[in-house]
Amino acid sequence: MPQEKTSSPFIPKISKAEQKIYADVYDVLLGGMLLSTVLFAAGVALALIHPHYIPLTHDYVERNYNFSQVVHGLLALRPGPIMLVATLLLILTPVSRVLISIYAFYASRDYKYVVVTGLVFLVIVLTVVLGSLGLQ
C-alpha cells in the first residue's frame, strides 16, 4: 500500500513573488483583450463604411492573407489588415501569458514549473513549425 499522504490543512499563504505572478497574468489577459476588442470594433466599423461583397469561401480567406500588405493596409486604415492584427493579438495574449509565467516561475526559483510551463511553450512552437511546414 502506498504511503498515505494526508496533508494537514495548510494556512493559505501566498508569497510576494507568487502574488506578482497573479498580477502579471491578470494584466496581460486584460490588456490583450481590451486592445483586440478595440481593433475588432474599428475593423468592423471601417468595413461598414464601404460595404462590399465578401465571399464566405476558403479561396477568399486565403487570398486575404497578404502579409506583405498588412503594414501598408494598416496605415491606409483598411479593415482586413486591422482585423488580422486584432486576431493575431488575441492569439498572442495567452502565448505571452505562458512566457511571463515561465519567467515568473524562474524568478521565484520554482524550477519544476519552469519545466512544466516550458513544455507548454514547446507545444506552441511545435504548432508553428507544423503550420509553416504547410499541412493541408
Binding site: P2, K5, T6, S7, S8, P9, F10, P12, I14, I21, Y22, V25, Y26, L29, G32, M33, T37, F40, A41, G43, V44, A47, L48, P51, H52, Y53, I54, L56, T57, H58, V61, E62, N64, P79, M83, L84, A86, T87, L90, I91, L92, T93, P94, V95, V98, S101, K112, Y113, V116, T117, L119, V120, V123, I124, T127, L130, G131, S132, L135, Q136
Partner: protein
C-alpha cells in the same frame, strides 16, 4: 455574402446571445456559436470552427482574468494540465484540417448530445464537502505530490477559506488531452469536460475548477487558432463580429448568472442542445447523403 450593416448586426446579435447563454449555463459560447454560424449563416464548417476558436480565446481572457484576480484560479494546476490540453488541441486541429466537413458536423452533433447528458448526470456536492472540510483530506498520487498541487481560496457562499489537495493527476491529464482535442477539432473551449474531470477525479472544488479551466482554455484555443491561421482558415470579417459579440454576451451572462437558479436553466439547456444536435446531424446527412431533414433555421 454582402458585408452589410444588417449581416454584421445579425452575426453580432447571434454571437451575443450565444456568449450570454454560454456564460449563463457555465459552458463556453463555442457550442452555440458554431451551430448558429453553420445552420443560420450557412458558413462552411471549418471557417465556423476557426472563427469560434478565436472568439473562445476572447471569452477566456475576459472570464479568466476575474478568477485570476480573486486568486480562485490555481495557476500551477492550470499550467500542468495545459501540457495535455495543448497537445490535444494540436492533434485535434491537425485532424480538423484533414476531416471532411460532414464528419466534423457529425462529431459536433455527438459532442452536443454528450453535453446534454452530462448536464443532468453531474451533481454538485461541493457545499457538503466544503462544510465537512473534505477537500483538504485526500490522498495525493505521486505526481500531484511531486508537483506540489494544492491550494486554497476564499469561498464567498460558505464564507470561509477552503483548502484542498489535488489527486488523480494522471487521470486528469488524460481527460485534459481529450478536452484539448475537442477544442482544436470543434472550435469549442472544452470547459465542461475539464471542469467535471477536475471536480470528480482530482478533488478540486468546483469554483477553482471553473476558474482554472477558463485560464487553460485561452492557451488551448490559441494553439488550434495558430494552426488554423497558418492553414488560411480564419475569415477575419467573420471573426471580428463573432469575437466582439461573444465577449459582450459572456460578460453580461457572467454578471447575471450569480442571481439565477439553475434548475430551470438545465431544461432550457437540454432543449437547446437537443435541437442544435439534431440540426448539425441533419446538415451532415444533407451534405454527405443528400437527405433532407427539416430544420427551422
Amino acid at each position: 455574402m454582402f458585408y452589410s450593416l444588417s449581416f454584421v448586426l445579425l452575426l453580432l446579435i447571434a454571437a451575443v446571445i450565444a456568449g450570454f447563454f454560454g456564460a449563463l449555463l457555465g459552458v463556453g459560447g463555442g457550442i452555440f456559436i458554431v451551430p448558429v454560424m453553420v445552420l443560420m449563416f450557412h458558413l462552411p464548417m471549418k471557417i465556423a470552427v476557426a472563427a469560434s476558436l478565436v472568439s473562445v480565446i476572447a471569452t477566456s481572457n475576459a472570464g479568466g482574468s476575474s478568477y485570476v484576480d480573486q486568486h480562485i484560479t490555481n495557476l500551477r494546476l492550470g499550467m500542468f494540465l495545459e501540457v495535455a490540453t495543448t497537445i490535444g488541441a494540436l492533434s485535434g486541429s491537425v485532424l480538423a484540417l484533414y476531416l471532411k466537413d460532414w464528419l466534423m458536423l457529425l462529431i459536433f452533433a455527438l459532442m452536443l448530445a454528450y453535453m446534454g447528458y452530462a448536464a443532468f448526470a453531474t451533481r454538485n456536492v461541493d457545499d457538503e464537502r466544503i462544510a465537512a472540510g473534505d477537500f483538504a483530506r485526500a490522498r495525493q498520487d505521486r505526481l500531484s505530490a511531486y508537483l506540489d498541487l494544492h491550494g486554497s481560496y476564499h469561498d464567498e457562499a460558505a464564507d470561509r477559506v477552503v483548502n484542498y489537495v489535488v489527486t488523480g493527476a494522471p487521470t486528469g491529464m488524460g481527460v485534459a488531452y481529450l478536452a484539448g482535442m475537442a477544442s482544436g477539432l470543434l472550435g469549442v473551449g472544452g470547459g465542461v469536460l475539464k471542469v467535471s474531470a477536475m471536480n470528480a477525479y482530482m478533488n478540486v472544488p468546483m469554483k477553482v475548477a471553473v476558474g482554472t479551466s477558463k485560464l487553460m482554455i485561452g492557451v488551448t484555443a490559441a494553439v488550434g487558432s495558430i494552426l488554423f491561421f497558418m492553414a488560411g482558415l480564419i475569415h477575419f470579417y467573420v471573426v471580428a463580429p463573432v469575437a466582439l459579440g461573444t465577449t459582450l454576451g459572456a460578460t453580461v451572462g457572467t454578471l447575471v448568472m450569480n442571481r439565477l437558479h439553475s434548475a430551470s436553466l438545465k431544461w432550457l439547456f437540454a432543449i437547446l442542445i437537443a435541437y442544435l444536435a439534431y440540426g448539425m446531424l441533419a446538415k451532415a446527412l444533407n451534405i454527405q447523403f443528400h437527405l433532407h431533414w427539416p430544420v427551422l433555421a
